[in-house]
């Protein structure tokens, strides 16, 4: 059972707490990093009298840059769900409320997803403007919609995975989450074997390929040979949402059953 009131309260309180100078500064950096880098990628070659490479521009640099922002944002928000409360001593107050642990997990997860999605949305909008303004990009609207779709799903699933990591590893959760992002999603995702299909990157990558629709057919066929077949949108979306729900379910079981003890409690 979930306390809707509790989750709502946790979400509202978490977002209210976020209104600090430090968090605002981090947010601005996360929002501006991708469009600034994209602008540099266009303006850099032009400064030397060359045109930027037309191939796959601006889709894939944007996806890559936004991916970094999205993962960083979720790392900062979703992973320290338990640790931040243990550290700030809020745990003792929250855990002794009815469904307090579940409310904490879900409230913080939703806050992380909302925050990261808003960061991605603003950043993607700026990236689209940059692409349009500097390069006269023709498919701006579909580009923007595709970006938001991909990063909405990425926030949902990676937020859940990082929340589980935060629940499992009270200390050094960020290290484990970064390790997961690098080892599983990046390295394992590029392994040309069935194992890469357990990564979320596999599904997000194929959704991006279909939604951006810029790759030539032979390139897509080559990708399918290496990484596995492209399935329907519904399949990839279902796997992503199912994985998020499953991971959150496991995280809830862990947070309910685990004894979180600080040195002060002993």
């Amino acid at each position: 059972m979930i306390s809707i009131q509790g989750v709502q309260a946790m979400l509202a309180f978490e977002l209210r707490r976020a209104v600090t100078l430090q968090r605002m500064a981090t947010t601005i950096v996360l929002i501006l990093f991708p469009p600034l880098m994209l602008a540099l990628m266009v303006l850099g070659p032009r400064a030397f009298g060359e045109e930027p490479s037309r191939e796959l521009f601006p889709e894939f640099p944007t996806v890559f840059l936004l991916g970094i922002s999205c993962i960083l944002s979720l790392l900062l928000w979703a992973t320290p769900n338990v640790y931040s409360e243990m550290e700030s001593k809020g745990w003792a107050f929250i855990a002794c409320r009815p469904k307090g642990r579940t409310s904490l997990l879900l409230g913080k997860y939703i806050a992380a997803v909302v925050y990261s999605y808003v960061v991605c949305l603003l950043s993607a909008s700026l990236c689209t403007l940059v692409a349009y303004w500097l390069d006269g990009y023709a498919k701006s609207t579909s580009f923007w919609l595709s970006l938001n779709g991909i990063f909405g799903l990425a926030c949902i699933v990676y937020g859940a995975i990082f929340s589980l990591i935060g629940v499992l590893f009270q200390k050094r959760g960020m290290v484990f989450a970064a390790g997961y992002a690098l080892l599983v999603e990046l390295i394992l995702g590029f392994v040309p074997a069935v194992i890469n299909r357990i990564t979320m990157r596999y599904h997000l990558q194929y959704l991006a390929v279909k939604w951006f629709d810029v790759l030539p057919e032979e390139v897509i066929q080559g990708m399918e040979l290496v990484y596995g077949p492209i399935r329907s949108n519904a399949f990839h979306i279902s796997v992503i949402l199912g994985a998020a729900a499953g991971v959150l379910f496991v995280a809830n079981i862990v947070i309910q059953r685990r004894e979180y003890v600080t040195a002060e409690d002993v």
Partner: protein
Amino acid sequence: MEPMIELAGVTKLYRTVLGVNDISLQLHSGAFGLLGPNGSGKTTLINLILGQIKPTLGTVRLFGKSPWKNDRLTRRIGLCPTVEIAYPNVSAKEWVTFLVQMHGFALPAARQAACRALELVKLDHAMDRPIGTYSLGMRQRAKLAQAIAHNPDLLILDEPFNGLDPVGRFEMTEFLRNWVHEGKSLILASHILHEVEAVHPAFLLISGGRLLASGTPQEVRQILADSPSEVVVHCNQAARLASVLCERNLVQKLNILADQQIRIVTPSAAKLFDQLPGICQQHGIVVDQLTSENESLQSLFATLMRIHRGES
């Protein structure tokens, strides 16, 4: 009548560290002081009662049910932990409202309950200010407000007097007395004994993870009647009295502090007090003053600790 709290052979190990050791007790509704030095196991005991941790051995029951993963029970408890509030940019009103909402209250009802609780702890004048601007005493009041705002049956306070000035301590004591007078239950963990004593007499004394004694001070004094205790006697013939007490094997240790003052450690205070009038009458000794450390909870605690350490 079903006990409010029941522990049966409860032991809690944090890997190799012993939190509490074989504690058995039954507490009916009422007020209790949980006394013990730092690291004695008070917080572990509270966490076991709250169901935040599982006992390694034994069983814990709260209001007749196991508190572990029992969310319904948490509605009946208000906890004011010893830890500091660390939300500097949030006001006490926002924080307490949030915690009341976590009990399932809708926002308007939670806000109302929070304001009422903050008024009760006399923090209503500053409740809209960020917690970061509060003094230690104000933060302590805010912590108390979040514990009582949902009107619990049992209030558990861990070192609530920390950081309070004398006026704050008095007000806290008065508040807790009223709480008890209203027929609600209270567990007050502290190492400041006179403050616990000022609220209520019943107590649990814990040290090294073990429950050393429980009950009212009178009940514990009864336990201690035949236990070693320290007595200081002011009389006109201190040396003579010392000699007679030694002859009668009433003394374990003796110091002559001044011509007319001796400190006695007796193996049985009850026996000493029983025989002392006869000795004085028989030897013409006039006792001006007799003080026993057992007159206060502080000395009771010290004596129990000595017994526990095997120093008696």
